[in-house]
Each structure stands twice: as structure tokens, then as C-alpha cells.
């Protein structure tokens, strides 16, 4: 009996200890890597040119209180954070942290409350509904095929490498200069369709044969004309007779 109680106690204590270890790891990582720009109390840092940090850069960053697992997970997994220069647009790169550190950091930031990543099930969505939503809300910047584009002063990123989770997160956060879309504008059900369409657009089924890198109909037409024209000239040369 005593052994059983001991075992039970052990079972309860070990995960709790592991959780505590993760939390302290997250806190340590935050203070060593993030606090300079986001503030030790997570309330953000206003740029102050007289105060310079590492590599003579002016640290500045938004508050992270209440951004929740949603934003922390998105920014760290896309490699948007850490950012060298606060005035630059964050760009997709390989995440700077191992899966374990990443979880610890996200856990730490999420412990102050805030929204969670919406559950996405692209399989439950409809590609055509997604296309309609994408055209209405996203294609203005990202183009209808998700190839990206420009707004004045910033880049609308290409969606080639975005995962289902990241698409859903970006819709709810509105990273950098992107507007955010609330559940009233795009419901979670509609989000499933939207994500399904973006995933389809990343690798569309090319019914016409070779996609030619999706150059577009005009360039594809030119290729067809050049190939067919050369072949026709060759045939004419073979079967025709020279005018003497």
C-alpha cells in the first residue's frame, strides 16, 4: 500500500516538476533573448535613439502581454522572430530555437493569457468557398494564386511555405501591416475553407499538362507558338520544294 501511494505521488510530482522546469526555461530564454526589445515586464520598448543595445542597434518592440500562444507560436515558428532590426519587415526563415526551447518560450508568453491558435481542419473546408473568400479578402495583396505582392512600403508575402496552422494564425493576428480578420468577418468554419484553398494554390493540379513554372497564360502561349512554329517550319522545309 505504501509503495502504491509513493508511486502515485511520484506520478503526480514528476510531470509537475517537468512543467515547472519548462516554465523556468521559457522565462530564462525570454530574459536572455527577447526582453531587450519587448521589455522585462513584457510591456514593449519604445525606440529611444540615445539608448543603444547590442551591435549599436536601437531596441524597440511591441508589448507581448496578452498576445497569447497564437502570436508567439506564429512568430517563432515562421522564424519572423528574433528580428535584427525592429524597423524591418520580418521575413520567413528557419526557426532560431529548437522545438523544446520554442515550446518553452511559447508557454512562457502564453502564461500571461491571450488567444490560442484556432483549430484548423482543411479537410472539412471547401476549395471553391475558400477561393471566394480568398478573392474577397486576401487576393488584393497576396494575388489569387497566393504568390505575394506589394503594398506601398511593405511586401505581401508569398504563401508558398505557409502551413495550415500558420495561415490560420496570420488571418487572426494580421502580422506586420496585414489587417486582421475577426471571427465575425471570417468564421472558423470559413477559415477551414480558406486554408484549404491556400494549400491547394501552393500545389495546384495542372490539368493542362506542364505548368511551365506557372508563368501565366500569355507566356505559356508564346512557348506553344515557338515550339509549334519551329515544328511547322521544319515540316514545310521537308515536304516543300524550293522555288527556282
Amino acid at each position: 500500500m505504501r509503495v502504491a501511494v509513493l508511486l502515485l505521488a511520484l506520478l503526480l510530482v514528476v510531470p509537475a516538476a517537468a512543467g515547472a522546469e519548462g516554465a523556468s526555461r521559457g522565462r530564462d530564454l525570454f530574459f536572455s533573448r527577447c526582453a531587450e526589445c519587448h521589455g522585462a515586464d513584457l510591456t514593449g520598448v519604445r525606440a529611444d535613439p540615445s539608448r543603444r543595445g547590442a551591435e549599436d542597434k536601437v531596441p524597440a518592440g511591441p508589448p507581448l502581454l496578452g498576445v497569447g500562444e497564437l502570436a508567439a507560436d506564429f512568430y517563432l515558428r515562421t522564424g519572423y522572430m528574433p528580428l535584427d532590426d525592429a524597423a524591418e519587415q520580418p521575413r520567413r526563415s528557419t526557426p532560431s530555437y529548437s522545438e523544446r526551447d520554442l515550446r518553452a518560450l511559447v508557454g512562457f508568453i502564453a502564461s500571461f493569457g491571450g488567444p490560442r491558435t484556432p483549430d484548423v481542419h482543411p479537410a472539412r473546408g471547401s476549395t471553391s468557398v475558400g477561393l471566394k473568400l480568398f478573392v474577397e479578402n486576401c487576393a488584393g495583396c497576396h494575388q489569387v494564386v497566393g504568390a505575394g505582392g506589394y503594398v506601398t512600403g511593405a511586401e505581401a508575402v508569398a504563401l508558398d511555405d505557409a502551413t495550415a496552422r500558420q495561415i490560420a494564425q496570420a488571418v487572426r493576428i494580421g502580422p506586420y501591416v496585414m489587417p486582421r480578420f475577426t471571427e465575425r468577418q471570417i468564421s472558423n468554419r470559413e477559415l477551414d475553407s480558406l486554408v484549404r484553398y491556400v494549400l491547394y494554390a501552393q500545389d495546384p493540379r495542372d490539368r493542362g499538362g506542364w505548368s511551365l513554372e506557372h508563368l501565366g497564360p500569355v507566356s505559356e502561349g508564346i512557348v506553344a507558338w515557338l515550339v509549334a512554329g519551329a515544328a511547322l517550319l521544319l515540316v514545310a522545309r521537308v515536304i516543300g520544294e524550293r522555288i527556282r
Binding site: P62, I173, V177, P179, F181, T182, G209
Partner: protein
């Protein structure tokens, strides 16, 4: 397998053994006698056979319908079938069919009685017309009016004939703002950092004056032009502008809205066609791009039930600018 060979042998053999029928009456030959060309015949047969094989392959690929590179294989097989068929025709034309030219001298043109007759007919036909001048005038009149009938519709291209059409919009005082699904938009639904498209309730979405962009501007940033009272034009910081760009009439569908303003660009409405950029806080003044005037603003009010309604019509005409757009 064996029967296939025998069938082939039979086919080839029969082709070779065809006797030349002796003609009943001997006539002098036109086409010079040439020896039969079994090699050319064989080549044509082989090419036709290959065309058949390629066509069968096309049918097989089409029926299977799950091969990798299905489209490419379909194109390749059908293309090869046509290529072999045309090669067979080329060989037939060049090696098997004799070429014989037949020429005939073209007759010299000569003045004939027929031509004189036509001239006479023309002369005599005119005798019936007595009021020649009047007919000419009438024909000229008909021609001129018909020409005018073709030209007059061009007036629709500009505001000359219908000066009010370009200034018309469906917005009236008290008209509700609804989203693309027809649901009314409540002031409480409009969040910062989000872009909303709204339409007048019951009006066509296709009409140029219908669509709006609605955003919420932080109170401190709001700086509307003189004469626009923020309480009437931006209740609770909510502003509504025409979604139609004043440059070329595209839909202003980009909302540049910084997640954290101190480190990125200021909020702006951007047209994706030519990057005209408007500041929603200052009455959609142009801050970049080819647009020549701000987006028209719609005055708003929040109804007792919390829904957004128009307080009147736009501040200026909607749509691409034209000569005289500022004249009123």
C-alpha cells in the same frame, strides 16, 4: 503471336502480288511507266502501322486515366499518331504518286460584243431618272444622319450628356450599411486593424457608388478635413470611404495596418492596381500614388440598435476622376 505474323505476311504479300490489269484498249501512255517501288510501299505501310500503334496507345492511356504525366502521354501519343500519318502521306506523295503538270494557255482578253452590250445597258438604265439632283441630296442626307447615328452614342463615354449620372450614388440618409451577405453591420463589430467592405441595404453591389471600405481610426490620429465634424463623419472613430479608387476605378482592397505602429508604416488604404495610397485618418487624403483626389467619404451615424447608417451622400463624386469632377 503466330497468327499476328501470318496476318502481317498476308497483308504484305497481298499488297505485293497485285497484278497490273491489262487495259482493254491500248492507248498511248501519258504518265511515263515507272517500276513499282516496293521499298517505298513498305515504308508507307510501316508508317501507317506506327500511326495505328500510337493511336491505340492514346486510347489505352485515355482509358487507364491514372498514369503519372497523363496529360503529357496523351499529347505524345496523339501527336506521334498524327506525325506518322503525315509522314506516310509525305512518302506516298513523293515516292508513289507521279507528278505530272498540265498547263493550258490563258486566252488573250479581247474587246467583245458582250462588253459593248454592258455599256449600252448602263446608259439606257439611267434614262428613267429625271430628278437627279434631288435624289443626290436625299442620299447625302440619309448618309449624314446615319453617320451621326453611329457617332452620337459616343456622348455616353463622357459626362456631357448625363452630367448627373456620374454624381449619383445609392446612399441616402438613414440607409443601413450591410456586408456582402446582406447582414447589417453594427458599430461594435468594427474592430481596429481590420478592413470591412459594406454596401447600401437593398442596392445593387455592382453600382459604382455602392461599395464602401469601413475602418476604425484611433481617436488621437483622426484629423478630418475642415468642415467635417468628427461626430457626424466618424462616430466612435469609424470612417467609411468609397471603395472605388479615384484614379482608375479599381477596388481599394488593401489595408496597410501596422500591428505595432512605432516600428512599421502608418495605416493606409491602398489600391492594388497602381498603388494609390490613402490615409484613412485624414479623410482618405492621397499620400502616395497616381490618384488625384481623396476617396469620397460617407457621413455616418450609429442607430439606436447599434447598426451603422449613412447620414447622407458622399462628400464628392465617386469613381475615377474626370474633367470637371471638382466643378459643382
Amino acid at each position: 503471336m503466330r497468327w499476328l505474323w501470318s496476318a502481317l505476311a498476308l497483308l504484305l504479300g497481298r499488297g505485293r502480288r497485285e497484278p497490273i490489269a491489262p487495259s482493254a484498249v491500248e492507248r498511248p501512255r501519258i504518265v511515263p511507266r515507272e517500276d513499282p517501288s516496293p521499298r517505298a510501299e513498305l515504308a508507307v505501310l510501316a508508317l501507317l502501322g506506327l500511326a495505328t500503334v500510337a493511336a491505340v496507345a492514346f486510347i489505352v492511356v485515355y482509358v487507364l486515366d491514372r498514369l503519372p504525366s497523363q496529360t503529357q502521354l496523351l499529347g505524345l501519343t496523339l501527336g506521334l499518331a498524327f506525325a506518322f500519318l503525315s509522314a506516310a502521306l509525305v512518302v506516298t506523295a513523293r515516292r508513289l504518286v507521279p507528278v505530272e503538270e498540265v498547263s493550258e494557255p490563258y486566252p488573250e482578253p479581247q474587246p467583245s460584243a458582250e462588253a459593248d452590250e454592258i455599256v449600252q445597258i448602263l446608259d439606257e438604265s439611267g434614262e428613267r431618272v429625271t430628278r437627279r439632283r434631288l435624289l443626290k441630296v436625299a442620299a447625302a442626307g440619309a448618309g449624314a444622319t446615319l453617320g451621326a447615328a453611329l457617332v452620337v452614342p459616343a456622348a455616353s463615354l463622357g459626362p456631357v450628356a448625363y452630367p448627373d449620372a456620374l454624381r449619383r450614388s445609392p446612399w441616402r440618409r438613414g440607409l443601413r450599411l450591410v456586408d456582402s451577405n446582406g447582414r447589417p453591420i453594427r458599430a461594435g463589430d468594427i474592430e481596429g486593424k481590420s478592413l470591412y467592405t459594406a454596401f447600401p441595404r437593398g442596392a445593387s453591389h455592382e453600382e459604382l457608388g455602392s461599395p464602401l471600405v469601413v475602418v476604425r481610426v484611433e481617436g488621437t490620429r483622426l484629423d478630418l478635413p475642415d468642415g467635417r465634424d468628427p461626430d457626424l463623419w466618424a462616430p466612435e472613430g469609424i470612417v467609411a470611404y468609397s471603395k472605388i479608387c479615384t484614379h482608375a476605378g479599381c477596388a481599394v482592397s488593401l489595408y496597410r495596418t501596422p500591428l505595432y505602429e512605432p516600428t512599421s508604416k502608418s495605416p493606409a488604404l491602398v489600391c492594388p492596381c497602381h498603388y494609390s495610397t490613402f490615409d484613412p485618418a485624414t479623410g482618405a487624403g492621397v499620400i502616395f500614388g497616381p490618384a488625384g483626389r481623396p476617396l469620397p467619404q460617407l457621413p455616418l451615424e450609429v442607430g439606436a440598435d447599434g447598426t451603422l447608417r449613412a447620414r447622407g451622400d458622399f462628400s464628392e463624386p465617386v469613381g475615377p476622376s474626370w474633367w470637371g469632377v471638382r466643378r459643382r
